[in-house]
Amino acid sequence: MGKGLLIVALGMSVIISFFILKLNANSKENLSTTVNMFEQTQARLIANSGVEVYLERLKHDRSMMNKSFPNNNLFGGTYDISISGPDSLVQVTSRATFMSVQHTTVVEAAADKVPLYPGPGAMYLSTGTVAGLKKNAINGSIEINGNDHDINGNLIGGASVPGIAVDGETQRNSVIDMITKNTIDQVLGSGGTPSVTAINNTVNWSEYALLVANNPDIIIDTQEKVKSINIWGTLNDPKITFVNGDIKINNSQAASGCGILVVNGSLEINGNFDYKGLVIAFKNTSIDIKLNGNAQILGSLVVAGTQINVDVSSGNFEAFYSTEALNLIQALLVTKRFSILSWWE
C-alpha cells in the first residue's frame, strides 16, 4: 500500500512539473513576443533620432559630408551614420541596434539656405528705431548714400536705392525733420535729396538676424574680446560676426571687417570703424557712433533695434550702398535647415 501511494504521488508530481514547465515556457514566449515589439520600436526610434541629430550637426559643420560616424550611443542602443551627397540631395543612412534588433532609416534631404536680403537702402531704420530717435540722433559730418558703389567705395552705375529707408510716411517725416534740423545734406540715393523713402518692408529683420547669427565665425560677447586692432573678416575671407552684449570700441581701438555683422546689445564706436557687407542691429540694440575718427559701412546698415545715434565730432561717417559688398556675403549664408525629401523607416 505504501509503495503504491509513493508511485501515485511521484506520478502526480511529474504531471504537475510538466504542466508548470509548459505554462512557464508559454508565458516566457508570450513575454518575448511583446518585448520584441518594444525592441523593434526602440531600434526604429534610435535610428530616426540618429538622423535628426546628424542633420542638425551637418547644418553647422559641412565637413561632415561624405563621411561615416559609427558607434553612437543613444537610449541604451547604438547607431551608425553615413552621410553622402551634395547639398541639394543629402542622403543620411542610420543603422540602429537595440538588444540585437536592427533597424535602418534612410533619409534624403536638401539644404535650405538662409536667403540673402541685401537691405532696402544704404541705411534702413525700422519703425521702432525711428520712434526712439533722439533730436540729434544723426549729427556731424555724415554721408548716407544709396547709389551703388564698388567694393572700394567708388560710385558705379548700378541701380540706386534710398539713402535712408523707413517703413512709412510718418517715419519718413520724422527722419527728414531730424536731418534738416541737423543740416545733414548728404543723404543721397533714389527719390531725390534728402533720399529718405518709405518702403514696403517684408523682412522680419529680428528673425533674419537670428538665422544669420545662428552659427557665427566670431563672437564678441565681452569687452575683453575687443583688442586695439580688430579684424572681423577680410575681402578674401568674409566672416559672420555676432556682437552680443554691451561692447565699446574706444578711440584707441579700431575695427574693420567684411561679411555680416549682427549686433544685439549696445555697440558704441568711438574709434575707427570700417565694415564691408551687411550690418544688422536687432532686438534691444542701441548703436552709438560717437566718432573722433572715420567710420565707413559699405554695403547696407539695417537698424531694427531700439536706438541709433550717430554723432560725429571729428572725422567722417559714411554709409554707402554697395551691391558688390553685399554679393560677398552670399557664400556666408548658412543652412537654415534641411528640408526632408523622403524618409524610409
Binding site: 500500500m1 503504491g4 501515485v8 506520478g11 502526480m12 504531471i15 504537475i16 510538466f18 504542466f19 509548459k22 505554462l23 508559454n26 508565458s27 514566449e29 508570450n30 513576443t33 511583446t34 520584441n36 515589439m37 523593434q40 543612412t93 535602418t104 534612410v106 526632408i340 523622403s342 524618409w343 524610409w344 523607416e345
Partner: protein, 195 residues
C-alpha cells in the same frame, strides 16, 4: 471481515486518487490549450501589427502628390515605394491596397467570425494569407491636430485597430460548451513621414 473492510477502504481511496489524477489531467490539458491559444493570439496580432507598421510608414514615400487615394474604415489605398533603398525594384512607386474580406472567405477555421485582410500591390500581387484569427479591423484617419478627417490631403496620422480571436473556441471541460472567446485588441497610430 477485517480483510474485506481493508479492501473496500483502500479501493475507495484508490478511486478518489484516480479521480483526482483524472481531473488534474483534464485541467492541465485545458490550461495548456488555453495558454497555447493565448500565445498564438499574441503572436498573430504581433505579426499583423508588424506588417501594418511596416507598410503604413511607407505611405507617400517617393511619391509627389496626394499619396492616400482611398481612406475608408476597412479599406485604404495609397501610393508608396515599397522597396527599400538599395534593393531590387527600388525606384518605382507602388500602388498599395488593404481591405478586409468577410467571414465566409475563412471557412477552414472553426471560428465563424474570422476574416482575411488582403494586401494588394499594384492591383495584381494579392496577398490574402491566413486569417490569423482577425475578426475585425478598422482604419481611422487623423489630421495634424489629431482630429478625424476624411479630406485626403489633410491626413497626417493613420490609426489601425484590430481584434484577433483564436481559430478555435476553448471548451469548458465541465460543461463541454465553448467558453466566451479569448480575444486580443491592438491599436497603432502611425504618422507616415512622407505625407
Amino acid at each position: 471481515m477485517n480483510f474485506l473492510m481493508d479492501v473496500m477502504g483502500s479501493s475507495i481511496i484508490a478511486g478518489i486518487l484516480f479521480l483526482l489524477i483524472l481531473k488534474l489531467n483534464l485541467y492541465s490539458s485545458n490550461a495548456n490549450y488555453y495558454s497555447d491559444n493565448e500565445l498564438k493570439l499574441q503572436q498573430n496580432v504581433k505579426t499583423l501589427a508588424e506588417v501594418m507598421n511596416y507598410d503604413l510608414r511607407k505611405i507617400g514615400y517617393k511619391y509627389d502628390g496626394t499619396a492616400i487615394v482611398t481612406a475608408e474604415p476597412t479599406r485604404i489605398q495609397f501610393f508608396a515605394e515599397m522597396n527599400a533603398p538599395g534593393t531590387y525594384g527600388h525606384g518605382t512607386v507602388d500602388f498599395v491596397e488593404y481591405y478586409l474580406g468577410d467571414s465566409t472567405e475563412a471557412s477552414g477555421t472553426a471560428n465563424t467570425r474570422d476574416k482575411v485582410l488582403y494586401r494588394i500591390i499594384n492591383h495584381t500581387d494579392t496577398l490574402g494569407g491566413p486569417t490569423l484569427g482577425l475578426v475585425d479591423f478598422r482604419f481611422s484617419y487623423l489630421n495634424s491636430k489629431g482630429i478625424a478627417t476624411s479630406i485626403l490631403d489633410s491626413i497626417k496620422y493613420v490609426k489601425a485597430e484590430f481584434w484577433v480571436e483564436p481559430y478555435e473556441h476553448v471548451s469548458n471541460y465541465l460543461t463541454n460548451q465553448p467558453d466566451s472567446s479569448q480575444f486580443t485588441y491592438w491599436e497603432l497610430t502611425i504618422n507616415p513621414r512622407n505625407i
